[in-house]
Point group: C2
Chain length 103, copies 2
DNA sequence: TTTTCATATGAAAAATAGTTCATCTATTTA
DNA sequence: TAAATAGATGAACTATTTTTCATATGAAAA
């Protein structure tokens, strides 16, 4: 973690540290979806979803593919999948109480 | 990523999505340190560091070990090291421009 | 047994991030 | 070509986080 990368680390993590963005990533687990489909799956409003999609794309978490009036998005599986696995393992050991909101 | 874990994911990521906390983790890369040593290494004020250490500990990122009037902290290497490697790889491909702050 | 050092803590202030709203553009359909 | 649909965007508003400040606690040293 050299100093010139600290900003990028911070951005990487804080991009993922948001409930709405996680819902969106979750909605994309089983493949490509357009904005309307993501809204429905994630139960989030269109404008909000568009803002977040832009952010997720900028940070390389998802890829965009335009098709006529539709924008299709898909997960960057190479990063996201092992990441989620890693967190899963971490949580198994340290975060049970956290998931339940205990202190 | 089942729904009952979403909150825990969010907390995991947002814990790491903060510059000061990353500085602290960075300061712990080469082994155990007490609060004063962390402050010096990370160039952060004591009170701020204490607040963040509490947060990092609660989320299982670091471990605390009290010794007299000193509190020693060390990285949870099992989680943090592979995590940083994973991000490193991700950034190599997608985030060069991000690290430089471009849009 | 007072003083000093190390750390913790709560509350206020400051900074940052997230959401909503109104509106705009582009594409497709009637 | 007018209306409808899909999505994007900027600005205002709201909420959350981070930092600071003043002070408390507890251990060790003088």
């Amino acid at each position: 973690m050299d100093s010139c990368n600290k900003q990028a680390y911070r951005l990487f993590f804080s991009t993922l540290g948001n409930q709405s963005r996680l819902e969106i990533l979750n909605a994309l687990r089983n493949g490509k979806k357009n904005v309307t489909e993501i809204c429905a799956a994630a139960k989030l409003e269109q404008s909000l979803v568009s803002h977040h999609l832009k952010e997720l794309e900028y940070h390389g978490m998802i890829f965009r593919e335009k098709n006529g009036k539709f924008s299709y998005f898909q997960l960057n599986k190479k990063t996201i999948q092992p990441l989620l696995q890693l967190i899963e393992d971490h949580m198994g050991e340290y975060c049970c109480k956290i998931a339940r909101g205990e202190r």
